[in-house]
């Protein structure tokens, strides 16, 4: 096998207007590749595992950057770096859940370059897939990770369908918990997709992790006021404390009145291909305080229905433990 580790010659487009970018994206379609921070771009291309003919560099489009207050919350440009998200006063004040989630992505260097849009749109990290094997997700007819002998410690507990890869995004669970809306532009106009529907599992589309299609650009993420200044809890468990994807993560937004939870939005990352909403936990804790007693009451509920693989059984107690932590922190 070749070693590559070099960038092939490609066309490079550097539009400064969103409309020009959309025209290019439409014209180039599958032949083009959108690049923002590049953190899930250059590895693919240097390895020649993805071979686009042209790069559409979005970094010149100022309209895609920045965090703005809206009539119903805030809007974050897709090109806003994760570091900017972490440090933004509006995000920190109202949606500290997202600030926390963004703060634990990868490493400081990657957060300085990586964008919010790229973090939610990145591809799965299944190592078999990334090795370039012809698995289902790569257009083949096998899953190398879903076998008794596979090295599948980091793979899915829920809703696997030919593919057992998990969502790698640290911000995605927070955005789903906050009921964010994803703004998607194309030559046909703009469509708004709830975060919970933005991410798609293999049963829906095995080759894509989001609803984004060729010609479309994620331009912004809108976070409604609904959960502003709620009680939040975010925790990511990874092997290392920096530069790692989650083994399991949890993002929770809770409204607490009179000492009891009146509403909750609880989402786990890295346990299925999409952020997993823990609706049974949400319902069970409603009307109850954040306490050890409530935690005891819902013990084991988060992982119910899990179908562990050969080496990821530990994710079940990890999920349950994070729910406990959310309720007792």
């Amino acid at each position: 096998m070749p070693s590559y580790d070099n960038m092939p010659a490609m066309e490079l487009y550097q539009p400064v207007q969103i409309q020009d970018a959309l025209d290019l994206a439409s014209r180039l379609a599958e032949r083009g590749w959108l690049v923002g921070g590049g953190q899930d771009t250059y590895g693919w291309i240097k390895d020649h595992a993805k071979r686009p003919e042209a790069l559409i560099d979005l970094n010149g489009i100022e309209a895609l950057r920045g965090i703005r207050e809206t009539s119903d919350g805030i809007e974050i440009g897709a090109l806003t770096t994760l570091t900017e998200v972490v440090n933004n006063p509006l995000v920190k004040e109202r949606y500290s859940l997202l600030a926390k989630a963004a703060s634990v992505v990868a490493s400081p260097q990657i957060r300085n370059a990586g964008t919010l849009g790229g973090n939610v749109a990145q591809d799965v990290r299944c190592w078999y897939y990334r090795r370039g094997l012809a698995c289902y997700r790569a257009g083949g007819n096998l899953c190398y990770a879903d076998t008794p002998d596979a090295q599948n410690r980091e793979h899915a507990l829920f809703n696997a369908s030919r593919c057992v890869a998990v969502t790698p995004s640290d911000t995605a669970p927070a955005l789903v918990a906050l009921e964010a809306q994803m703004v998607i532009a194309s030559q046909r106009g703009e469509r708004i997709v709830p975060a919970a529907r933005f991410f798609v599992g293999p049963a829906v589309d095995i080759e894509n992790t989001t609803v984004l299609r060729p010609g479309e650009i994620l331009t912004a993420v809108r976070i409604p006021a609904k959960w502003a200044n709620a009680e939040f809890y975010y925790e990511k468990i990874a092997d290392r404390n920096v530069w790692d994807f989650a083994l399991v993560s949890i993002a929770a937004a809770m409204r607490v009145e009179g000492g009891n939870i009146t509403a909750a939005s609880v989402v786990c990352g890295a346990v299925e291909c999409v952020p997993r909403r823990l609706t049974s936990v949400e319902r069970a804790i409603q009307g109850r305080p954040r306490s050890q007693a409530t935690a005891d009451m819902v013990a084991g509920m988060a992982s119910q229905g899990a179908r562990p693989l050969a080496r990821n059984q530990f994710k079940m107690p990890m999920m349950d433990n994070l729910v406990q932590r959310m309720l007792t922190a």
Partner: protein, 817 residues
Amino acid sequence: MTYKHIGKDFTPPDIEAKVTGAARYAEDFKKEGMVFARLLTSPLPAGRIVSIDYSEAMAMEGVVGILTTEDLPQAAPPANPPLASDVISYIGQPILAVAAVTEEIAEAAIEKIRIDFERRPFAVDPLDTLVEGGPNPYPNGNSLVQTEVAAAGTTQAGTGVGETKWSRDAINAFRAGRAPSGGVAWGSTARDQWEFGDVEAEFAQCTAIVEEPFVTIGQSHHALESRTGMAYWENGRCYFFGSLQSHTIGVAPLAGMLGIDPANLVFINENTGGGFGGKIFPYPIMAVTGHLSRKINRPVQLRITREEEFYIGHARAGMQGWIKLGLKADGKVGAVDLIIVGDAGAGGGASGPGAANYVSLMLQPDAMRFRGVSLYTNTAPRAAQRGPGENEMSAALEPIYDKAINMAGLDRVQVKMLNAPDSDGTIGPQRGALTGCWFAEAIAQGAELFGWEEKKQLSGRRNGSKVTGIGVGMGYHSAGASGYDGLCRIGTDGKLYLHTGVGNLGTYSYAAVVRAAAEVLKVDWENCEIVRGDTDLHLPWSTFQAGSNTMFTEVRTNYVAAMDAVRKLKAIASGELGGEADDYDIDGERVFNIANPTQGLTYAEAAQRAVALGGEYSGQEFPDDLNPVTQRAVQGLAGTGLIGVAKDSRHTGTVPAMTIGYMQIELDTLTGKYEILDYACVADCGTIVHPMGFRQSMNGGGVWGVGLAGYERLVYDTQNGLPANVGLYQAKIPTFLDIPIDTRSGATNIPDPQSPMGSRGVGEPSQGCACAALASAISDALGGHQFNRAPITADMIVNHVAGLDHYNTGDLKTNTF
């Protein structure tokens, strides 16, 4: 003793270049007309090549040449050939190299090459090949047959491939964590099976006996600088720019790889971005660079990518083992029974014998039995990696040792002091002697530094979901060799030129050791210049830089060279000024009459006289016992000053570098994560030559110790032989946020009796005590639970706390998660 330089901090001369980026590594060297080579590597773990068609590639514009096994004959297994075709034994094994005017063209050409492979069955788990009927990694077998003694983790002449099989019952018992009985076979050499004392009789006297299995996972080498090389040929001489840990000791083997007289090899290696045992001697891919350059008569740079470095850069050997350890009522280790199945990968050596020696030294048992076998697998070739055998064994042993001590109701530190080797301690089956050892003093000093008596009270303390663990771990490595050459020169300008063939692998030991010569000659550091990095600069034959031996070995060589220079200074002065040589002394960069200090010569004047006198004084004559590398160096320097040159004598006994580490962690039982709250370590490594360098050794070793016990691992897919972790991210090297914030370190600073300035190395055991301390602390936090493996990762801890231990220990094998 009061020294001028020894024991004092100083700034090594290459620091500024490294900080500013001006330091040059192999990849920084260019040559007019240079072309770029890339490798085609095997996509299969085992097989052979039936045919190669590279006609289309060679017809491409910009392609300059190709090197295949037709150009480079393949050594038989278990040798790891530069290029392979008849016996493919691991994924990523180089098959051929293509040179082109750009890397991109070379890669495009490689895509055009068509290869027909024939597959062979393969094994990535040593037990899969050890079981009767299991596949063999090589066509002719699965196990190391060794007729000569090799250092742990290395391959050398005298190795071959045999076939070793166990019965299925024996394999099943071993996988289940029990000692196999019946239907087993061990390695064929004396290193694989040995025993001293009456093991059964000693066990009978023990009151606390534990039996535990253990698994340690290999870790690949991740030196920041990959093994890139550049070579060109001029007038029959090869100029090779490479990346080795060592320098001049690599000349002869590299020349041998290239088929030339060592005198015709110029080896330039100014800086090396880390080695850690992976670059001790010239490695196979260097042959590809040199031969391809000669074949196409162009300078060639072969850049090795991070992914390729994973394949060909070698890895630590993994172990699967079982140990029975017995303590007598007073805590003395009565007997040890040890079994190790070692994973030697696709060529190399497993580390079982080194691990067994470690156990014999650290526990000083009255009786011990070791049985082992070194097996090949279709995984990355194995070689030395920091403390091969010792350090992974330290991580495996410490919780088991703790279990026995706790069972006996004794204090862990007291028992470890009781069993600590002293200068009368012994190592290995021969029960070899030590040069000197004050390990008990180090343990006591460490206990004081850490506050053991207070900290041990915190063991098991709960803080919500978190629990405190207190660990204490032991590290060791043999840290000294002897018999190499020393060379220094007093120039006619009066400066002291310190010639060294030691490599500059990032530890700065190259600079620390030459200060021994400056010490002997009483020269101010400002008047010294280190000459190194390029064999055309006339460098002596210096030690291999591995095994933590530089500080012992090269202080000896610099000492003897400087003493030779002192002798010559006195002889010149007495010849010039009258009297006997013994009437003279040196100081202030002068040689002077003791009775009348005003009567003397400056070093510059003495060097000028040496040039005028010729003969041995300025290098026209030199001792016959010098290595040819040193002889050529002296010949090159002849007539340029006063030459101090000598061969070091041989020392006797093992040079023990001992470390003890103390660690306090707080482990979160809900997440399996832990925070290292305190880490203190003390070394018994002789006189500290360079205090700042010593502290950095202890810090760096501590970081990697955390990696060994907590994070790093080789993972292979058993279905297709694919490695899962071919990059820095995937291999889980520890990060800044995973390690102790501060490392408190100390040293006994008791001089080694066989080093002229008392020095020993400490690089490797600095890792061993840290990984053992962490493994000990994790076990302590969980009530003495035995994970029986290294690394211990968050998933294992969560499984244990959730009562799911069967997911951790039901699958006792290496090379997996």
